[in-house]
């Protein structure tokens, strides 16, 4: 493999990773945009989402990589798994919002943030105590389809990740920009009080934001499993931190920014891992986070609220 091949291969890997981070970053950025809260529970909603996806696929009769589907049956299974995972993860997000966060709306200071840490910890430990610390073989019905020769290889799983992520982001974009509820979300993000006076039900908007963010985290959990062929109780922490960095990089509160930020972080991870050593990846990404905050706290694509102190 020439150096160029390696580079192209790592870009393919990076964009795939980045797509997962983008989906996850969207949840952070949407919630932050609406209620200015860093939702640490999001880390583990993603992790729980990947387990939900695993169980749905198993319920559909898939186990490990033994069952290979093609054509409509493959698409059908994936759509069912995706929709099911998103609905259940979204419901989990709504549950968290209703029980743990709504009572704290308007409480100043760090209370809500600490609560999300607690919720995240609860999810993490429930999974650890009930399901266990093993890495689980994630069912994957996709046939191994490769394009390209020895040098650069593009696999079906990567194409799938891209397609799913792209479709979901396009839907989200449509929802936020074109629908009535999406406009209510934008209005609430800009000025909650004014939105309320204009008849926007803020509680409902917040609930839907949590639903959407968590549903996207669930989708990210599904494609994480399909991409890596495993899931585990600990995947939320690293992925969550990277996705949050992506959200900050894109300008927190900025939806297209989160998408692009995710891709950039994915590329940094794959190329950085190639150029340096993989064990330093977290250090590189953390450095990116600190550098962005020092030099461009509003993110690459900016939003004024970020720098407000």
């Amino acid at each position: 493999m020439t150096f160029q091949d390696v580079l192209i291969q790592q870009v393919i890997n990076g964009v795939s990773l980045g797509a997962i981070y983008s989906l996850l970053a969207l949840g952070f950025t949407m919630v932050y945009g609406i209620i200015e809260l860093i939702n640490f529970a999001h880390f583990n909603v993603f992790m729980v989402g990947s387990f939900i996806a695993m169980y749905i696929l198993q319920a559909l009769g898939l186990n490990g990589q033994n069952v290979i589907l093609t054509g409509f049956s493959l698409v059908g299974v994936l759509v069912v798994a995706l929709v099911g995972t998103m609905l259940l993860s979204g419901a989990l997000g709504v549950l968290i919002e209703r029980t743990a966060l709504r009572p704290l709306r308007g409480v100043p200071g760090t209370a809500a943030m600490i609560t999300t840490i607690g919720v995240s910890y609860i999810l993490f430990n429930i999974v650890l105590l009930t399901i266990g610390a093993d890495a689980f073989n994630f069912p994957n019905p996709m046939p191994t389809v490769r394009w390209g020769e020895a040098g650069v290889v593009l696999q079906l799983r990567e194409v799938l990740v891209w397609v799913v992520a792209f479709l979901l982001m396009a839907c989200l974009n449509y929802f936020v920009r074109r629908t009535k509820m999406g406009k209510a979300m934008q209005a609430t993000a800009q000025d909650q009080e004014a939105a309320r006076m204009m008849g926007v039900e803020v509680d409902r908007v917040v609930m839907i934001t949590f639903f959407l963010g968590s549903a996207l985290a669930g989708a990210a959990g599904l494609i994480f499993g399909l991409y890596y062929n495993y899931t585990n109780f600990a995947i939320g922490y690293t992925a969550g931190l990277r996705a949050f960095t992506a959200a900050v990089l894109g300008g927190i509160g900025n939806i297209p920014g989160a998408m692009l930020g995710g891709i950039i972080i994915g590329l940094i991870e794959s190329l950085g891992g190639q150029l340096l050593e993989v064990r330093w990846t977290d250090v590189i990404i953390f450095s990116v986070l600190v550098l962005v905050l020092v030099f461009r706290p509003t993110g690459l694509f900016g939003r004024a609220t970020a720098a407000r102190s």
Binding site: I38, I114, I117, L241, W280, L289, V290
Partner: protein
């Protein structure tokens, strides 16, 4: 009502009765003494080495919790990577007092050998350096190193919203163990440091028994309680709490937010570093796994459970959690096993509750935040009670002659305006909020700013007080340019303000609010606060006296409520308190943003009189007001703003006669009808 004759006494009550007769101060001392004695004799009574060891570990975490309490509890900065600073301290001592590094001996090391920091080791063909830094020197040095890292990573984020600190510290807490793991030459990687030298004191080596470490830990706790309590009741601690309560208002009262946040962060990190040396000395080993995220969360749980900002609560919570981990969960599991055997339930026989400790931590965090945010022992905000003499020695309203004039009449050059604004412009996106405004406020006058809602009045105030930077134009105070200065420096120059929607430090007392108001012209730093230096005590006395003088302007409205928490005050009293807090900064000019908003007519008249008397005391007042009777009564000059532009200026009669003003208020048709 139970009559005394028929009253029955239970044994508990009988025992508690003498205790109740003590004053609350005496009660506190009694409890404290008992706790201290209990802590000191504990290893002598309980001879079980395992128990003492667990207790010694608990002291380390209690010290950590006290350190983090300064950051989270007092300053309100959420630090999720506290274990990283703990690790830095631990590895600092671990590396400088073990065989981990052993470079070849050379003459370079001789001065260090003379200082006792290294030893020359020659045996079996080896000729190397052995690091033997004394524990007692390592501890403060580790604190400094950890504080340095705290500043390094705190500085970029502390300028931003507090949320960012949470995520950056989370990331920092994540990467420090990674760096430790991946840098084996320095840290021996995942295998961990070994053979860390035990501390010794006057020739007595602490060795591997737990008791000496336990006592050292107790001493550290006592030291930290002392430091935290002194800091909390000082200018520095009050500024931290003000930042926690309302950052913008803290800035407007002269608190340099970045500097104070960094200070809190560095002090917290320093305490963690010092504790790291203690912990690693006790275990005589250090591995990266000892400093992962769960440690940071556990310390946070201690603070949340005990009560943010509550020194004793935090220690209590540390003890409770340690008891839970070391004893209670094990015992409970044991009982469940017995019960399981009795009823023949397999699941109950195998249950191990100690594994669920982290789940319990998560549940504690959520439940405490939802149902008891103040923690088990709420942080008391006991400000020292004033003597009756102090309270009554001051004149009440009407006879007061406090001179608020901070500019001597001779100091003023004739023709210099107190406040002058020239061609001031501010746009937000496409909206011009303030458009080329010129204005002058003469010394000793009351100027009122009126205009319809959204006409840019508050924005103008924000520009003058440094909350927003103007796009263009110049603001000067007594001829000195102050354009673009940060808000805390503007207060220092002599412009104080109140806010339209009240920005008090709600969980601080009336007195504390006013003491924060004096932040800009007091000096005590962290060291002075801890040592209670002569200068600090004098300053503290003086600020308290000044606070009482200021409060006396409002007669008996606020004076009896000195130690009440601000959020408990009535609405009108909160308005008064905000004015008092602004006055406490000894301003040359006072900016009041709708001071009588929400007050009833009687209260409005009272306040209007008080504002008038402020002018009598030499103060210049610039106010935004909607109630035209107040404006007409008070103002020497009225300025009218509409759509960001000044449309009229003059006395009440002049302004009311202007058609533009009527138009702005009533609309074109009505005005021309």
């Amino acid at each position: 009502m139970v009559s005394p004759g028929t009253r029955t006494w239970s044994i508990g009550e009988a025992l508690a009765a003498p205790f109740r007769r003590l004053s609350s101060d005496q009660q506190r001392w009694l409890i404290l003494t008992l706790v201290v004695i209990g802590a000191l004799v504990f290893p002598l009574i309980d001879r079980n080495e395992g128990d003492i060891d667990a207790a010694a570990n608990a002291t380390a975490f209690a010290v950590l919790a006290l350190g983090l309490n300064i950051v989270v509890g007092l300053a309100g900065l959420l630090d999720l990577g506290y274990a990283a600073f703990f690790a830095i301290g631990a590895y600092f001592y671990g590396v400088t007092s073990s065989w981990q590094l052993h470079p070849e001996w050379s003459s370079f090391w001789e001065p260090f050998q003379w200082l006792g920091v290294v030893a020359h080791y020659q045996a079996m063909g080896e000729n190397v350096v052995h690091f033997t830094l004394s524990f007692w020197i390592a501890m403060p040095l580790a604190a400094l190193v950890a504080a340095f890292f705290g500043v390094l990573f705190g500085a970029p984020t502390l300028r931003l919203r507090g949320d960012y600190l949470a995520i950056v510290t989370l990331g920092f807490g994540e990467i420090v163990p990674i760096v430790v793991r991946n840098w084996p030459t320095l840290t021996n990687g995942a295998m961990g440091l070994n053979g860390v030298q035990a501390p010794s004191l006057f020739g007595y080596s602490f060795g591997v028994t737990s008791s000496p470490y336990y006592y050292l830990g107790v001493a550290l706790i006592a030291f930290l309680i002392f430091v935290s309590s002194r800091l909390k009741e000082s200018r520095v601690g009050r500024a931290w709490m003000a930042i926690r309560e309302d950052e913008i208002a803290a800035g407007a009262m002269g608190v340099n937010r970045v500097k104070l946040k960094l200070l809190a962060f560095a002090i917290g990190a320093g305490f963690a570093g010092a504790t790291g040396t203690f912990y690693v000395a006790k275990l005589q080993t250090a591995t990266p796994d000892m400093f992962m995220f769960p440690v940071s969360v556990m310390i946070l749980v201690m603070i949340v459970l005990g009560g943010m900002g509550s020194v004793y609560g935090v220690v209590l919570a540390a003890v409770i959690l340690q008891l839970l981990q070391s004893w209670f969960l094990q015992d409970l599991s044991g009982w469940l096993h017995v019960l399981g055997r009795a009823v023949g339930n397999d699941w109950m026989q195998q249950i191990d509750l100690t594994q669920s400790i982290e789940l319990i931590f998560g549940i504690i965090l959520v439940l405490m935040m939802l149902y008891r945010r103040q923690g088990l022992i709420p942080a008391t905000r006991a400000t020292k009670a004033l003597t009756l003499e102090q309270q009554t020695a001051l004149p009440s309203r009407g006879t007061i002659d406090v001179d608020l004039r901070v500019v001597a009449p001779g100091e003023l050059k004739p023709g210099t305006a107190m406040l002058e604004v020239e061609k001031l412009l501010k746009t937000f996106g496409g909206i011009t909020a303030v458009k080329d405004v010129d204005l002058r406020v003469e010394p000793g006058s009351i100027v009122a700013l009126i205009g319809p809602n959204g006409s840019g009045k508050t924005t103008l105030f924000n520009l003058i007080t440094g909350m927003n930077a103007p796009d263009r134009g110049r603001i000067s105070l007594l001829g000195e340019d102050i354009t673009g200065l940060p808000s805390h420096l503007i207060v220092e120059r002599g412009i104080a303000r109140t806010f339209q929607n009240l920005r008090l430090f709600s969980n601080m007392t009336v007195l504390e609010n006013i003491l924060v108001g004096q932040h800009s012209h007091t000096k005590t730093g962290a060291v002075g606060a801890v040592l209670h230096t002569h200068a600090m005590l004098a300053e503290e006395r003086e600020t308290r006296e000044h606070a009482l003088e200021i409060l006396s302007i409002f007669g008996n409205r606020l004076m009896p409520r000195l130690n009440q928490v601000a959020k408990e005050l009535s609405y009108a009293n909160r308005r008064r308190l905000e004015i008092a807090r602004a006055l406490a900064s000894r301003p040359k000019i006072l900016l009041l943003d709708e001071p009588t908003a929400g007050m009833n007519p009687a209260e409005t008249i009272e306040l209007a009189h008080q504002i008038k008397s402020l002018r009598g005391m030499g103060l210049t007042v610039f106010l935004i007001e909607h109630k035209l009777n107040v404006v007409n009564e008070l103002a020497d000059k009225i300025l009218v703003l509409d759509h960001g532009e000044k449309i009229a200026e003059g006395t009440a009669e002049q302004v009311h006669a202007k058609p533009e003003v009527l138009e702005a208020y009533l609309g074109r048709k009505v005005a021309h009808a």
